[in-house]
Symmetry: C4
Subunit: 231 residues, 4 copies
């Protein structure tokens, strides 16, 4: 594997800590650049500490390619389930940021409050693990749970996990990081807008589609800054 790919994936993990999206937990993965049937993800480790040497390789059923490797994250099934169902997804971030969780607990849907959150305008489904699995420990710890979560995500960019967190997916790694960050920021904006009351003039579907295209094309400017901060 090219060293810079591993370093970018490790940097993505540290970026999401630096930007306040991850705390002592959270993980980010990317599809293997040369093998669409595999993905790359850190071993089980606090995201602030991840470096290139911690990256492991998994098959799409979330099994480590190296059976003698380090301990993987339990929730790798969340990533495998989505890569298996969504061939367009090349990178995934999963975290528990405090501003996002409320929208998985109440009936208010997340909106795209501004252009940076354009990817939310298509809708943000909520996955309630109880509906299919009853009372659980909430963790996406099996292929079945990963597949059910992927079903809930559908063709969207973000899915909320009730009483747990969120997952953001994207066509490349910088965009997955961008979407994780602005899922969190937009949640904060919406919490404040909802508190003011009355209808919220969020982006509509068409505005969201157009603004998202610009964001995907210009994400490099932000990515370079974010990476520099954690280097």
């Amino acid at each position: 594997m090219e060293r810079d790919v591993l370093e970018d994936l490790a940097a993505a993990s540290r970026i999401l800590v630096d930007q306040g999206v991850f705390d002592a937990a959270g993980h980010v993965s990317m599809r293997h650049p040369h093998d669409a049937g595999r993905f790359l993800m850190s071993r089980s480790l606090a995201p602030a500490l991840v470096t290139a040497g911690d990256i492991m390789e998994f098959t799409l059923d979330s099994q480590p390619v190296d059976a003698h490797g380090p301990k993987p994250f339990i929730e790798r099934y969340l990533h495998g389930g989505i890569y298996a169902r969504r061939p367009d997804v090349m990178a995934i971030a999963h975290g528990h940021s405090a501003a996002v969780i409320p929208f998985g607990l109440v009936a208010t849907p997340m909106r795209a409050t501004y252009h940076n959150a354009a990817f939310l305008a298509a809708g943000v489904p909520v996955f309630d693990i109880r509906e299919r699995f009853g009372a659980t420990d909430i963790v996406i710890s099996s292929a079945e749970r990963g597949a059910a979560l992927a079903d809930a995500l559908g063709d969207k960019a973000v899915v909320l996990l009730r009483a747990h967190g969120f997952v953001a997916v994207a066509p490349d790694l910088p965009s997955a990081v961008f979407r994780a960050i602005f899922t969190e920021v937009s949640a904060r904006v919406q919490l404040q807008a909802e508190a003011l009351g009355g209808p919220i003039a969020a982006l509509d579907h068409e505005e969201g589609r157009k603004a998202d295209a610009i964001n995907l094309a210009t994400v490099g400017r932000s990515w370079e800054l974010w990476k520099r901060r954690v280097s």
Copy 2:
């Protein structure tokens, strides 16, 4: 006493500052590892400054074992009262974080808003010192007040002190730190969810019990990160 025990307890104090749970006040203690009838706690000192050399030893009636030692915290009775009543408790953290205090002032009970706060799903009682002691200075400054607080805690993991703060207890030191941190984070999440309005799909008792077991088993990953940040 083993040096690493003292250093872990001192680190716990600094961690809770670093994580925004303690300010210039707050204290954390642990039961003596070789004598269930004693506990360990810093001398009276801002928690950011505590090092291994500041740790004192107390009997369960909150008296210093060394009568010629430094000045102890007045609120050591809070710790002693709980260790006396709850043999399962091995560590205790007490602080005044701004997001938690509101839930001790109003009728809204704290909920377990996500898996990291699973320990709240069993319920979070509120201790109002007025009910038993009338108008006081609020401080848990006597064995009677400590015992009354321990009664209010009952078999729970967290108790709120009206117009004062919170206490989190756990079966080991890293878990007490974890619970103090996620009491604060979950309070922030709930404040936001309540502001959105409508019912909150928090963890129920069974989900809380299951998720808490996972948290207790995996707390080491967070603890290592938190400790590294204050070393």
Copy 3:
């Protein structure tokens, strides 16, 4: 161009990051000090990274004077449109701070919650790009959009862009930075005051006019501090 002019403009960009108004995006410009028909603005770059060497020169129709220069910001039209319409404006800041965006999404108008936000007392219009351009990518990416935004600004100090951000203008660079900062702070104050409920005793027009004059006269004290922090 005098070196200190370029360095002040670059510092303004970094100040607005340091003060929490800009994130990985946002830009600040100033009218050319010797040619009222031109303005100065960074090349397309994260604002935290801008230095004097990144400053470009533009005509008021937002075209780079040096056709072979680096890549400019797409949104330079926002700046050109305002400089063309408002000869009194000497500096402009545009950002997307989370506390301000809500006021572009709902019906509640921004108020001048305290003396530092006095420039808001004259009123804060909202520019909704849909009204003139239909469903867009939200970006102020043409002279037409820039002119429409300038129309919406009118003779005010701040205009909100629906689902996008804000623009603050001023008679000099430090005052534009000051107004960008206190637009954000006042938005936070107002969000909290609105949550308490009831009428808000904000500055009236006359108080705003008087307090703004003091602010413009004393901005140097804050500017020196802000600049020192990013030097």
Copy 4:
């Protein structure tokens, strides 16, 4: 003047920046330790930059003792007015923290949400400069305005200035810093408690009186930490 007195007063200014109470503005003063008819206060300077050499001496009518000294703060009249009216006051802090300003704008009175804010339990008056001076620039820039503000403060520890900020007074410098900090923290707590809704079980007058006595007696522990952080 003893050097450590000047250094403590300068440190108080930097502490209030470090603790998030002051931004680029705000000032703190103390009564002259050897002459009750004078007070000490920094020259006009951003509070983060104040050192011992910046401290000036004033008479109680807010005139500099050294007519050839540096430029004083305009708002020195706020300090002089209070020292003249309140012989028990030995130190004063004035700032514009974002969480406090809302309570000067709406009808909701500030409460003592927890023991650290006990000094608020006696009541927090609001000074509206319009009532006596009509439409002004809001600044306490004359002896008349200073005296009117002192009247509004009465015998309390804190007064809010409508659309401006707050003033905290105390019997010594560390306690004035303590009260400024916990005015801000308690405001944040109350904003959150009010958002939850229903009655707030704040400290009553008697609890506040008792808890305040403890705080005044133990402020040294916090003061040492705060001072160390800005040394």
